[in-house]
């Protein structure tokens, strides 16, 4: 059963009661919230996700709830919690939905110990995955959001889950977080895309969440083989240019972008080097999504 099969009343009942249980990729989350912002966001963004029965197993028990004390009344704020523990500062109520997404990323990282978890986008075509590791502001999410409307499947916008032998990736298709100008860029590039209401004045500027394509959500068990590691960098006005990069430099930088690499120790190093071994590695400079799309369409499988 998908979330969209539940009535609006039932979704609200679960959110306010024992929790709404959703499967996202390899993880099951149980979410509780009385906030209208969360209800509206979840029904929009998670409509295609499997809604599990009440009372079943969940990896995360999370909640987004009004903060207590004075903050319940003066400039109301909200708190994200996992098993009753709030790891983050409270945020203005209007940021409840981005806070949920940031919190879920954090949970996935905590629970993803049987993966090498990279801070990277990941997209798939014909069973091969392109991994897009990059720091914030590099245009990674914009590129991801554009390409998944041009024949690529969304694996993840934020976290690439690499098997410990480095030979496969597990999808974690969740809403794509877009910021500032990228929101309009993707609306123009893919007018059919569905967005949450933009939230202004977050720590990252204006944030809007784009619904993951239905096919990407439904193929949650379809793992795929790593084939390319591409470091994207948005450079205003620059023609799209793909240049090879060495495996050693790639290994070092992907390791820097891995969220649990240090924790995994020797096993993490083995996973990382096996992953890089299997991939062709590149730097990409781009300013135009259409040009970037052509470059990605021309990628050849590694020899």
């Amino acid at each position: 059963m998908r979330l969209s099969d539940l009535s609006d009343v039932e979704v609200r009942r679960r959110l306010r009661g024992e929790g709404l249980t959703l499967r996202t990729g390899p993880f099951v989350m149980r979410l509780r919230s009385s906030l209208d912002e969360i209800h509206a966001g979840v029904t929009t963004l998670y409509a295609d996700y499997p809604a599990e029965d009440d009372g079943g197993f969940a990896d995360f028990h999370v909640a987004v709830a009004p903060a207590g004390g004075l903050r319940a009344w003066v400039r109301p704020q909200v708190a994200f919690s996992l098993d009753g523990w709030s790891p983050f500062n409270t945020l203005p109520r209007g940021q409840a939905l981005p806070l949920l997404e940031w919190g879920l990323n954090w949970c996935a990282n905590l629970q993803g110990l049987h993966f090498l978890v990279l801070h990277a986008g990941a997209i798939e075509r014909d069973g091969r995955v392109a991994i897009l590791p990059a720091p914030p502001g590099s245009g990674k999410s914009t590129l991801c959001a554009g390409l998944i409307h041009r024949g690529w499947r969304l694996f993840s916008d934020e976290m690439a889950l690499v098997s410990m032998d480095g030979a496969s990736l597990t999808p974690l298709a969740r809403p794509v977080s877009l910021k500032n100008r990228s929101i309009d860029v993707i609306r123009d590039f893919a007018p059919q895309s569905v967005f949450s209401r933009p939230v202004r004045d977050t720590a990252k500027g204006t944030v809007a969440l784009m619904k993951a394509p239905t096919d990407s959500v439904l193929r949650k068990h379809d793992t795929a083989t790593p084939a390319w590691i591409v470091f994207p960098r948005f450079e205003a006005g620059a023609p799209a240019r793909l240049t090879p990069r060495s495996k050693g430099r790639t290994c070092l930088e992907v390791g820097t972008n891995a969220l649990n690499y240090t924790h995994l120790g020797r096993a993490g190093f083995a996973a990382l080097t096996n992953l890089v071994d299997r991939c062709d590695c590149y730097d990409l400079i781009y300013s135009d999504l259409g040009e970037a799309e052509k470059i990605f369409a021309a990628l050849e499988p590694p020899a």
């Binding site: 120790g265 020797r266 190093f269 080097t273």
Partner: protein, 104 residues
């Protein structure tokens, strides 16, 4: 102790528990003890490889001899080679990959 202060008989000791990966002209090592990863030039990596082959510790002069044999640097001027080794060992010390101990 600085690298310039030790004698050829002083001991260079591997301080790291290393995992290795080689790609053509690059070597990536992981120090399993600290979790740090380093990208090395192949020639520099040979110094660590020689140290590992020596059981993890040996006198500096012995290490230099092993490295020169491994890299076949007979044609390189001796002082130039010694300077190169000293610089690399200094870098490795700063990266906590080796320790230096005075000879007893």
């Amino acid at each position: 102790m600085g690298i310039d202060d030790i004698s050829p008989r002083d001991i260079v000791r591997l301080a790291a528990d290393l995992s290795w990966k080689r790609w053509d002209d690059e070597v990536v090592i992981h120090d399993d003890a600290t979790g740090n990863t380093h990208l090395l030039a192949p020639d520099a990596a040979e110094i660590l490889a020689c140290l590992e082959a020596a059981g993890g510790a040996c006198p500096r002069a012995d290490l230099a001899r092993r490295v020169s044999l491994r890299l076949d640097v007979a044609t390189v001027e001796e002082t130039e080679f010694a300077t190169w080794i000293a610089e690399i060992l200094s870098d490795f010390k700063a990266m906590d990959l080796i320790d230096l101990e005075p000879a007893r």
